[in-house]
């Protein structure tokens, strides 16, 4: 067995934390933390992110399992919808009785 910590640069892996608030509908990303494994990541998340009653459910995901869009490709990725107002359902009369639009 090797000894973790023998190399001072070695650290616990990073986890992304998602918390579902009491009356919310979905888990929301709240931040990240370090933990040696998934079980302790859940417990650390409970201690770090729900100590003021913020949630009733926690997800943790290894940060390395998340694929992100490329910040340098932002223009090609996100500017295209500009000027395409027809994509917004703004030209229709709202039918009676439809809520939450």
């Amino acid at each position: 067995m090797t000894t973790p910590g023998a190399d001072e640069n070695e650290a616990w892996p990073l986890w992304e934390v998602f918390v579902r608030a009491n009356r919310g509908l979905s888990h929301v990303h709240v931040g990240s933390l370090h933990a040696p494994d998934a079980d302790l990541a859940i417990r650390n998340a409970r201690d770090v992110y729900t100590r003021r009653n913020e949630g009733v459910s926690i997800w943790v995901v290894p940060a390395e399992a998340i694929t992100t869009s490329d910040p340098d490709a932002r223009d090609a990725f996100f500017e295209s919808p500009a000027g395409k107002n027809y994509r917004h359902a703004r030209y229709y009369d709202k039918a009676e009785g439809v809520k939450h639009l």
Binding site: M1, W12, G24, D37, D39, L40, R43, N44
Partner: protein, 273 residues
Amino acid sequence: MNEDPHGEVAVDEVELSEELAGAGTSVASDDVAEYALRLGDDALILAQQLGWWISRAPELEEDVALGNIGLDLLGHARSLLHYAGTASGRTEDDLAYWRDEREFRCAWLFEQPNGDFAHTIARQLLTSIYLDALYSRLVHSTDPTLAAIAAKAVKEVAYHVDHAEQWMLRLAHGTDESRRRITVALADVWPYLDELFRDDALTERLGDAVVAPSALRAPVTDAVAAILAACDLQAPAVPFAAGGGREGRHSSYLGYHLAELQVLARQHPGASW
């Protein structure tokens, strides 16, 4: 309540609950006060020790975990000392800051020093399992205030047991070094377990108002044995320590804990911050 289930979510809408469990007009008898002092001092001294870890644990997340556990225990100590003080007209602060070593009633296990991380976890294992067994029975106390304090504490100590168990497993099955350290730590704290299970005249007089310490021996040793088995560790074969904390005879460590705990209040009496 908003009718719309998709409506806005207010996360800053927090209702603060009572910080002192069972704080009412009830006044403890001298015997109940003495018992509450034992439990309160156990919690206070352990809380004081766990606070030391903040900024010193292996990672920031563990600083917060041990800090949270310490604050849970400080909450229990406040409720218990407040109740103990009602018998003699003293406040929780009077009892925490203005008693000397011989007047404290904590058991030796709670005074044992933090040591390395393994020692703290080994001590957490024994103290948490003991407190969990104690409070889960004290909720049936014939004394309503003790029952109310126990009802609040029992959920918190159940998590402390889980935290200690998770770390026991990881230290025992981690590396050669972590296993060596947890084995040493377990042998160092083990002698102080027996003191927790000793009945005396006070607990016998109080009967159903309290939990007889001897009734905790089997559930605590069984729960510890189950975790040690999962860790592939043996119960250390070491003699039990003399103990005597319930009568005010303490190990040499308590004086140092009290010096740190009390110095500010004693240098600046009545100060607030």
